[in-house]
Amino acid sequence: MAAEFHIHDIVVIGSGLAGLRAALEAKRHGTVAVLAKLYPTRCHSTAAQGGIAAALGNEEPDSPEWHFYDTVKGSDFLGDQDAIEVMCEDAIRTVIELEHMGVPFSRTPEGKIAQRRFGGHTRDFGAAPVRRACYSADRTGHAIVFALYEQCQLAGVEFFSEFHVLDIVVRDGKAAGVIALELATGKLHAFQARAVVVASGGYGRLFKTTSNAITNTGDCLSILFQRGLPLEDMEFFQFHPTGIYGLGILITEGARGEGGVLRNRQGERFMERYAPTIKDLAPRDMVSRAILQEIREGRGIDGRDFVYLDLTHVPEGVIEERLPEIRQFCRVYLGIDPSDSPIPVVPTAHYGMGGIPTDIDGRVLSDERGNVVRGLYAAGECACVSVHGANRLGCNSLLDTVVFGRRAGIAIGRELKYLEPSTIQDEEVKKVESDIERVLSRKGKVRTAHLRRALQECMMQRCSVFRSESSLKEALKEIGDLREMYQEVGIQDKGRVFNTELTEVIELGHLITLAEIVAGSALQRTESRGAHYREDHPERDDRNFLKHTFAFSTDRGILFRFKDVTITRFQPEERRY
């Protein structure tokens, strides 16, 4: 089948909040195509429940400076403070702009944007929780995605829905374009561009229990890594404390922000012991560890492997008005009403802090020294600026996507005139075509589903909330074995129209690549910081590890290099809540 060639000034991969915001901004400077493997509004940003952080001070005094401090402290001092300051300073403008675009934020009685408490967000540098999360009930992501998608439509951004990106062409230090599979026809398309923005979201499907969509497989991170570009801080993967037991579906931190508490089998509000000041609203890394600690010590409910999130004392009206979706999830998937019964929860894989390294204008770095790839930008969960460091605070991701998506668009506006249009060569498309044909002709006996399950179980057991040298070495060995087995994966579907068995095989290949990077990065960091907790090295080690990990692909395996953390304002201190 002959491939189709396209020419655009700017090609954006991903229609989540980061991609949409970048596209909207970039559209002011040239033609923009957004490619997504789903219909645009089906991206996983729509699942974001709790809110977007901004120190509006609508409900009580707040300041961007406190937000700045909380984010740095939340990041366990690994976040780059120049980037965090930019984000927190821009937060108010960002949320107001979204409101003007039509986002239906929930309101205070005076008609202002309502705000609620969220983990790790405090007033006066840690004194007490503060209302900083701006929300639209518990459907904040959905509300913002629609507003931005609508604005993109209005602005004339072109959408290519259900185009699955298989390759990102980077030639001589410049992004040239993207090669994608049109699912409906099975045809390849080459999108040639002056600038490419990668906004392809997260990779939570690396783990068995996850809040992430089935399509969150980190394809583009793996593609860039295999093309020789580094990935930063991949050892830091956030587990959200409250996923529905057995399913992983998220119960937003907003549930605790509205007064919900965690309880063990004795009914004890155990977070009082772990974080005496802000208790259930401590940052996620701490709460997730606390839950698993309770379970390990036999205080899970009935001695089993979950605890309760108790909302039974929260007024029913509050639940109905501010957490309606959560209530619906509980009714549908558990057959309970959170007003009457506590919700069984466990930590669930949620957010990758690491990703494609960028500067504060979304430009992709080619190394730890700050060199950039011309014409290549990244934003959102796939990128690592780094504003979240070793642990992200709730509501800071939506903020990150919109702030840095826009900044990437602005940077493109500045740089587009120096970025020559690139071409994609026939051979480059042919190589992708022959890769597809190779997968389609596979006759092996191994099933994708089995291998994927084995990988997810391995990562869950050996490389999740608690890690150690031995568990990580075992994980790496297992991942190596799984990689071998991957060669034996067979495929039944030989057709080209909407072949999702084909895309699943390809996605699994990317997950295996990412698993190795995550476990490898975790093994070399012999300290505990934020979401990365090493049982054999339980202390933070600023002398040796106050630095970002850069993982590179080489012929002899993964090579690690390091980049200093940018510290401008707040010196590392012990993290207590």
Binding site: R42, K112, Q153, I214, Y333, G335, R447, D493, G495, R496
Partner: protein, 238 residues
């Protein structure tokens, strides 16, 4: 775990001239989703079975299909609520691309016709535009639509007139017309007051019955009709 016989309507345009049924036997736990069952079939039995899915908890709108005669989300349908013999077909009302995957291009395009974006030419204030909780209450249900397409595909008026905007696009028009911050009521009414628009709704309620987000779509369409009548009256009275 209980055994189920899933009877699925299949069609592969590269092989089949007509759709055909295929039966799969699987076991599902009470609280498993039908989507889990489909994923298991694809993973363990038949890799060629094709369907859309992403979020797996009723928020992205990908997995709408016709389950035992009713447009529903596979990820919001639990095994405990299914009969042992369960029939799964592509979402009613749309051309089939393959198996359970339908072409929703037209559905999305209709939505774009109603000017689905906030229009307000007044220069925005420095801070948020104020909106009282009561004003917001009016649009609260309408903003929860996930564009799954179940309603439009289930609408008899739409079966008869494929150009009819359909419940979902009308709901979208409502979402903006009744947003206290929007100023383009007239323009938008014009977009929905034509022979394939608002008055094609005959209040049959099929849409409400299938909507997985439990939106009372007809209530919203009725409000649009009342508004349209008021506006017409006003124009006539000059």
């Amino acid at each position: 775990m209980r055994p189920y016989r899933l009877k699925i309507l299949r069609f592969d345009p590269s092989k089949d001239s007509n759709p055909h049924w295929q039966v799969y036997q699987i076991r599902m736990g009470e609280y498993e989703r039908l989507l889990d069952g489909l994923i298991r079939i694809k993973g363990e039995i038949d890799g060629t079975l094709t369907f859309r899915r992403s979020c797996a908890h009723g928020i992205c709108g990908s997995c709408a299909m016709k389950i035992n005669g009713k447009n529903s989300l596979a990820c919001q349908t639990l095994a405990k609520d299914l009969p042992e013999e369960t029939v799964v077909e592509p979402l009613q009302g749309y051309p089939v691309i393959r198996d359970l995957v339908v072409d929703m291009g037209e559905f999305f395009r209709k939505n774009d016709e109603v000017m689905p974006y906030l229009i307000n030419p007044e220069p925005p204030p420095d801070r948020e535009r104020l909106q009282s909780p009561e004003e917001q209450q009016r649009i609260l249900q309408s903003i929860t639509c996930i564009m799954c397409g179940s309603c439009t595909g289930a609408c008899p008026s739409y079966w008869l007139d494929r150009q009819y905007l359909g419940p979902s696009a009308l709901l979208k028009a409502y979402r903006f017309i009744f947003d206290s911050r929007d100023r383009a009521t007239k323009e938008r009414l014009r977009k929905i007051l034509h022979e394939h628009g608002l008055w094609r709704c005959h209040t049959i309620y099929n849409c409400v019955e299938v909507c997985p987000k439990e939106i009372d779509i007809t209530y919203h369409i009725k409000a649009l009709k009342r508004l349209a009548l008021r506006e017409a009256l006003r124009i006539r009275q000059g």
